[in-house]
């Protein structure tokens, strides 16, 4: 299995994602600079990592969404390749129009960095199958603009189509309907605000992120 992590100027979880994927699945991981116009062949997963791409100028994710690499990422998503945007990567996918909604400033205006318990709302997606019967996952959030927003019609549609995959048990940032992660496209595009890449082995204090990568790439 093969994955790629996109590296934007200002990404700061790109290495974390690489290590998390390698250790939790054994897949090989290519690091792809945002200026590339092609991706490696045969990818099973593309990760847009956390951080502050382009310094979050204008809006978080707005400039990164226009990076050259987003053209082949979009094309791969259309072909059905799994694409996961984590934290800042979620913001990029929303700004790129690859996922509905937007991430607003946190409701209490504070940057929040802590462990959160998530409900695995839909355990049947390409990103959650490996959770099996476990309906809870603990990961950490680290965001200042993690407050998921969409209009009621969009939220109803997301829920109706079972596209909400993770919900916060205790909403840390004001996200609409406590949504922490959604899937779009043909179920192959994930946006998730908490970091599975910071919760994949015991030494990190929590392992709730490992099944996410294992769902897409196998391994245990």
């Amino acid at each position: 299995m093969k994955a790629a992590v996109i590296v934007f100027p200002g990404s700061n979880c790109d290495r974390d994602c690489k290590v998390a994927i390698e250790r939790s699945t054994g897949a090989s991981v290519a690091m792809v600079w945002h200026g590339e116009t092609a991706l490696p062949d045969g990818l099973d997963l593309i990760v847009l990592p956390g951080g502050f791409a382009y310094g979050d100028y204008l809006r978080a994710g707005a400039m990164a969404a226009l990076s050259p690499v987003m053209a082949p990422v979009r094309a791969a998503a259309t072909r059905g390749v799994a694409v996961a945007g984590i934290c800042n990567g979620f913001q990029v996918l929303c700004e790129a129009g690859m996922l509905p909604g937007a991430l607003l400033r946190n409701a209490d205006l504070k940057y929040v960095c802590k462990a959160v318990t998530l409900e695995v709302t839909n355990p049947k997606t390409r990103f959650t199958a490996a959770y099996g019967d476990r309906r809870e996952a603990v990961m950490t959030v680290g965001n200042g603009e993690g407050n998921f927003f969409a209009d009621d019609e969009t939220l109803d549609r997301l829920e109706g189509e079972d596209r909400v995959v993770f919900r916060y048990r205790d909403n840390p940032n004001g996200s609409a309907r406590s949504i922490a992660g959604i899937v779009g496209g043909a179920g192959n595009v994930l946006g998730v605000m908490p970091h599975p890449d910071r919760a994949f082995e015991d030494d990190l204090g929590r392992t709730g992120g490992a099944p996410l990568f294992q769902s897409v790439l196998g391994g245990a």
Binding site: L58, R59, A62, L66, C94, E95, P100, G101, A102, L104, R105, N106, A107, D108, L109, F149, A150, D151, G174
Partner: protein, 80 residues
């Protein structure tokens, strides 16, 4: 021509910065302040045949980049 673009969160979107500023103004002795909105101003010079053309170009820029239509509205002013 000089274009000035004002970008604000849409009315239905809670502006938490605006709320915080409003509370601060109340605390400073302006209890009558209401509906504070914090937005962004973007200025630029643009070559265009006339103000109407500049305005429509700027509006297109808002739709593509300067604003996020999911959460933000915008207003464009053009001066010669």
């Amino acid at each position: 021509m000089k274009a000035t673009v004002h970008v604000f969160l849409k009315p239905g979107v809670l502006d938490v910065q605006g709320k915080a500023v409003e509370n601060a103004l109340h605390g400073l002795g302006w209890p009558g302040v209401r509906e504070v909105r914090v937005g962004r101003v973007i200025e630029f010079v643009i070559d265009a045949a006339d103000p109407a053309a500049a305005k429509s170009e700027a509006a297109a820029m808002c739709e593509r980049l300067l604003a996020n239509p999911v959460i933000e509205g915008y207003r464009v002013d053009v001066a010669p």
